[in-house]
Assembly symmetry: C2
Homo-oligomer: 289 residues x 2
């Protein structure tokens, strides 16, 4: 059959490499159409499955997208906005989803399914991942708080709005007041109360923020409104005792094609706390962690 036999120049790989170079070069401009499958079949004299394999590769690399019945297109890159990480021991600012702050920083609708509380909050048990983060055993009771934010339709390419998901996990042993009905309601509506309780009962704490990324899973693509194959930025902030034992972990997930992460020193001379919400928004800052 005389197939190329060398994996390095498999025919689909040649096509993918050609197209990738052309896209990164700008020969196919962002938003523009790539050649149709039949065109590529003719051009490279291969079968349609081979052409499709090449295009699927570009899609999985986030370089292209496909619309059924229309064709394949170069994926445009939206402008990235900024998530600002603070170093300070300021639980007021550090509290994620602290309503006044987050709203002020450019979030149009801080609603979650039209319900009142900012966070869903429920007592569950730690799965393997959460157990590692909190330094407890799997199955240990934890408080799981979750919040989903979206930022109104900006100059979005496909009409999709940017979203952020915030998950918070707390060792339930460290916040027995959670079960008090009155406080429970407060905690769900006012994250600052939540953090104040923790700091009041567990004294001076350390904050530690680590950032990484990975490819989004399909369910995350759905909840974060990511149309294409993309990476998610994962910002994990740990509130810990001075001895290092974790008290609470907050994990922010953000689509990597819409967000970048900066640090407070980067804002000219004035510390960010002295900037007005409008000034922060003008600097492209959506969230302060």
């Amino acid at each position: 059959m005389e197939i190329s036999t060398d994996d390095k120049d498999a025919r689909w790989r040649v096509i993918a490499t050609d197209l990738r170079a052309a896209i990164l070069d700008g020969r196919y401009p962002p938003g523009g159409a790539l050649p149709s499958e039949p065109e590529l079949v003719r051009k490279y004299d291969v079968s349609r499955p081979t052409v499709r394999k090449a295009i699927e590769t570009l899609v999985s690399e986030g370089l292209a997208y496909v619309m059924r019945g229309r064709g394949s297109f170069v994926r445009p890159m939206p402008e990235r906005r900024t998530i600002l990480i603070t170093d300070r021991d300021r639980p007021d600012l550090a509290a994620p989803g602290n309503h006044p702050d987050v709203q002020a920083f450019g979030w149009d609708l801080a609603q979650r399914d039209h319900e009142a509380p900012l966070f869903t909050g429920e007592k569950t048990t730690a799965n393997r991942n959460v157990a590692v983060l909190l330094g407890v055993r799997s199955g240990h009771p934890v408080i799981h708080r979750r919040s989903l934010w979206h930022r109104g339709h900006t100059a979005a390419v496909h009409g999709a709005s940017a979203r952020l998901e915030i998950n918070s996990y707390t060792n339930a042993d460290l916040l027995p007041a959670w079960d008090d009905p009155k406080r429970h309601a407060q905690y769900r509506k006012r994250p600052d109360f939540f953090y104040q309780s923790l700091t009041r009962e567990h004294g001076p704490v350390r904050w530690m923020t680590l950032t990484t990324a990975r490819i989004a899973y399909e369910d995350e693509r759905t909840t974060l409104g990511m149309d294409y194959a993309e990476a998610v930025l994962i910002i994990r902030r740990t509130m810990a005792h001075p001895n290092g034992h974790p008290i609470e972990v907050t994990e922010v997930k953000a689509p990597a094609n819409r967000y970048e992460i900066g640090h407070h020193r980067e804002l000219a001379d004035a510390p960010e706390a002295d900037l007005t919400p409008q000034e922060l928004a003008d600097n492209g800052i959506d969230l302060v962690i």
Copy 2:
């Protein structure tokens, strides 16, 4: 033909969803084998191309990998080491690839193809992306310095060592001394001289570091030694005039499954400058930017 016809329950999608859930659940443990293609063909009563499509999906999501002649396996997650971002105006530390520092922070072999200079350095012209970063027009002369670092075989899963790629772009107009043969050699061997020149000639400068991520392209996977589909962390540090105009841009690319990004305040009480190289390494820190 009676094909399911509804894209939502495409047969390959059902299989992929099943396998993904099983992997995230731990029913297929990390490093363990997934069912072989023929097994899945029998289990779901579909053709082999359909099974392969499902597996390819998991691979492109970074959840699995395939070894020819052996089978498909759940991708284990290696431990992440840390890249530390400093906020200070310290060009000595800030200089990437400053030989003594980088080596001290745990890099066994800071060699690049067994050549002497740490950085390749050449004068080229700005492509579109670099032009945007430096605030010049496409085609403007720029100095491009490049360096590739690898960290010896740690507890790597597949024997691959972690690697970092560092690219630096400078507006060539701002460093005419680059063309002086004597200095040229110095600049390539001693990045600190390079940055000292820039700061000496352009006075007080601002440093700005922004981090984001995206899915790695195939060529990047090769140079960064990433066996699987993965995200790359992109750390972009800009050296700018106080008025904001860029002088030099350093871009670090790191495999997101092996690195996370932290900040200097997180190191206990002592600033990282006071820690010995060994203490830094013990804290899992590979690089200070």
